[in-house]
């Protein structure tokens, strides 16, 4: 019995030491819920866009998210955080979308998944509405012309109707994927903007004949 207790204690010691001394524990933050993003990200106005997801491990998975933090008055930064499995599952459909934003005026924070950079749309500090063929479309000022590039908008031109829809969804705390589902996991623009993610997660058809042929070629010849 004593041997089992000793073995159990040694296992705990190993796990404890490994956790506290492992390089992954340094320099990478952990967020268990979406409110964790708020503590992690200072400054305003900002928009946190989920740009990639990744998991490591065989039986016990560790989940990582990559966010692009687009600020109003400074350049963007990319951050990688560890997340809980629940949060990963919750955010999975919102790839390429703004998950968190903080407004400049009153520091209001919202977590409704919206098209990337929706915080900047309608803000007169960053741009203005211009009339194009009878439709009011948002244009950034020349100073902020890089913001749509950072946001990977591609050919997305938000209109006033879309802006209204964004505001309604935000007030009702309902995700908004854009008109005709442009953003999110199945969004056309997201697929175009983040091809690496889709390439990586694409299920590969394993042909055993080809597999063995390649294996023998690589390892024995």
């Amino acid at each position: 019995m004593n041997k089992f207790v000793l073995y159990f204690c040694l296992t705990l010691l190993y796990l404890g030491l490994s956790k506290s001394l492992a390089p992954t524990e340094f320099g990478i933050s952990y967020i268990s819920n979406k409110e964790g993003l708020s503590k992690l990200l200072p400054g305003a106005p900002l928009s946190a866009i989920l740009i990639d997801r990744h998991s490591t491990g065989f039986l016990i998975k560790t989940y990582y998210h990559k966010y692009k933090i687009v600020y109003g008055f400074q350049t963007f930064v990319d951050i990688i955080v560890r997340t809980s499995p629940a949060l990963d599952a919750e955010f999975a459909p919102f790839l390429g979308m703004s998950i968190f934003r903080r407004y400049r005026n009153d520091g209001t924070e919202t977590y409704t998944p919206l098209p990337p950079g929706s915080i900047f749309i309608g803000d007169k500090n960053f741009g203005r509405w211009i009339n194009n063929k009878g439709k009011d479309q948002w244009r950034f000022f020349r100073t902020y012309r890089q913001i749509p590039v950072y946001l990977k908008w591609e050919d997305y031109n938000p209109t006033k109707d879309e802006f209204s829809a964004i505001k309604i969804h935000e007030s009702e705390n309902r995700p908004y994927y854009g008109k005709n589902k442009l953003f999110g996991l199945d969004g056309k623009i997201t697929k175009k903007s983040f091809p690496d993610y889709y390439k990586r997660t694409k299920k590969q058809n394993i042909n055993f004949k080809t597999f063995f042929k390649n294996y023998l070629k690589e390892n024995f010849i």
């Binding site: 190993y14 030491l17 992954t24 490591t56 990582y64 990559k66 993610y197």
Partner: protein, 296 residues
Amino acid sequence: MNEVFDKLLIRVLFTVFICLALIGYKYAHMLFHPSQKKSINNKIFPHDNYIFTIHFFSRLIGIGLIFSAFEFKEYLGVFISSFHFFLWSALGIFIYLLSIFTIESIIFYNFEYKDEVLKKNNLSYGLISATNTITLAFVIRCIFKESENSIIILTILWLTSMVLIGFGIKLFKFISDFSFNSYMIQKSTSIGISFSGFLIGNTIIITTTLTNEHYQITSYLIQIILKCLLSVLILPLFRFGLLSIFKINSSKTLGQASEQEKIGHSCYECSIYITSSLLASIVIGQIHFGTIYPFF
């Protein structure tokens, strides 16, 4: 053709140089082990005392192992490469002999070389001493390779390995059914076999833990400690697995056993420990997880 002759000549010169280094080893050995001064200074007759033969020639194997860790970089110049070899081999000899002295003081703290080898002809003493010197040579060789010509890293690694080996030796009483002191006094060969297996097993584990990629000494030492701890967890599992798979029954009490039975038991302990250590070394050092940092 000239080039070929030149290269051969250089090789012969380096061979002579290594032999000269061996003379250095001989005198350094007498410095560390004054009790063996007489037997080393006189002519050696291997057939006279086979315990002495085992004891002495194991050290020669050890020093050969240490020297095999060094390189001659002739392209840097014959003088510089010889000087480099001389300096590092001298350091190797010094560290090796100091290690033997330290570890033998731990293992044989109740026994004297003169009594056990020259008077009593204790085979167990000879076996354990021989295994200890050869296994230490493997560890020192590994340290020299890992230190990559850095004296600071060499010192740290040497001290760490000495602590690990010393600590490992103290675990023998928890692993073996043999009582070291009483069986050594009885001159039972079984303790020699069992303890030798234990030393070989420990060396396999220690050399595996030392063989890591290292960029920073602190994280490297952390990895060594973690791997040692992991080996303590994995090794009993393999031992249990081996005993269960091959249905080995080792429950006989050694007190009433004959010498033959004791030797059989010691062979079982020796082989199981070495096999478990080798298998554990796969789990400790040969599973590569790739990068742990998210690379996306």
